[in-house]
């Protein structure tokens, strides 16, 4: 897990309007994003990019005062880097979501989680894809 680089932050900005607004307000900067809290498993070597299972777990008490409110997934190998954004409520109980995504090729997958207290957590991982799932 690396700290978010400037390029990474720009990349995230490609589709991260909701979170970026808060960044602009000075609630947090990407550099403050803490590692190791947000975890995801996305199949380190996906055979086909058409269906890549993605499991996201973020450590959070998920109380009304402190919960994970948004989770954004970004992949830099896709023609359109934004993949999905989840909006959670304290009623989730646990900050755990799973879905299946497409990846256009081998690249970095980033999961960024935002809490109701304004903190950001990020996890980045290289995902190898043998056959891309976005083109035709």
């Amino acid at each position: 897990m690396n700290a978010l680089t400037r390029r990474g932050a720009l990349l995230l900005g490609a589709g991260l309007s909701l979170t970026l607004v808060d960044l602009d307000e000075g609630a947090a900067t990407p550099a403050e994003a803490e590692a190791e809290i947000a975890k995801f498993t996305g199949g380190k070597a996906a055979e086909s990019g058409k269906i890549v299972p993605l499991d996201i777990k973020v450590e959070s008490p998920m109380t009304a005062a402190d919960y994970v409110s948004d989770i954004r997934v970004v992949g830099d190998a896709n023609p359109n880097p934004g993949i999905v954004t989840f909006h959670l409520t304290p009623m989730a109980g646990r900050a755990e979501v799973a879905t299946r995504i497409r990846l256009g090729g081998t690249g970095t997958l980033t999961v960024l989680a935002k809490t109701s207290t304004g903190k950001f957590y990020a996890e980045r991982k290289m995902v190898k894809v043998t056959v891309g799932g976005c083109g035709g």
């Binding site: 589709g15 999905v84 009623m91 109980g93 995504i101 497409r102 990846l103």
Partner: protein, 107 residues
């Protein structure tokens, strides 16, 4: 074209229990990046939003982009404190909204 969405929601739970919900919607999730045999781009048509409400209150929402696989699948958890009804809605680019409901008895 939209088949009935598949849901896996427990029908009963204990108060305060965290339940798991799984949903699967049949949809091609056409990305808009593909081309047909004549080389013409195939227009994008995806489910762009998924919303789950419990007793009319939004509890989970996802904004989808073309990078979600065909037949969008979601798995998430919810802590239930009272009996009620989950309503699920999938919003298509063309404006179609597919809905499904499932009630749960909480004791």
């Amino acid at each position: 074209m939209a088949d009935k969405p598949r849901l896996r929601v427990p029908s009963e739970a204990k108060k305060g229990e965290i339940i798991q919900i799984k949903t699967l919607m049949s949809h091609p999730m056409e990305t808009g990046f593909r081309k047909d045999e004549a080389g013409k781009p195939i227009p994008r048509e995806i489910i762009n939003k998924f919303v789950c409400t419990f007793n009319s209150r939004e509890v989970f929402r996802a904004d989808l982009e073309p990078a979600i696989s065909a037949n969008p699948y979601f798995e998430f958890t919810l802590k239930v404190e009272e009996s009620g009804t989950f309503a699920f809605a999938w919003v298509d680019d063309n404006g179609t909204v597919t809905t499904a409901e499932q009630s749960i008895a909480v004791s």
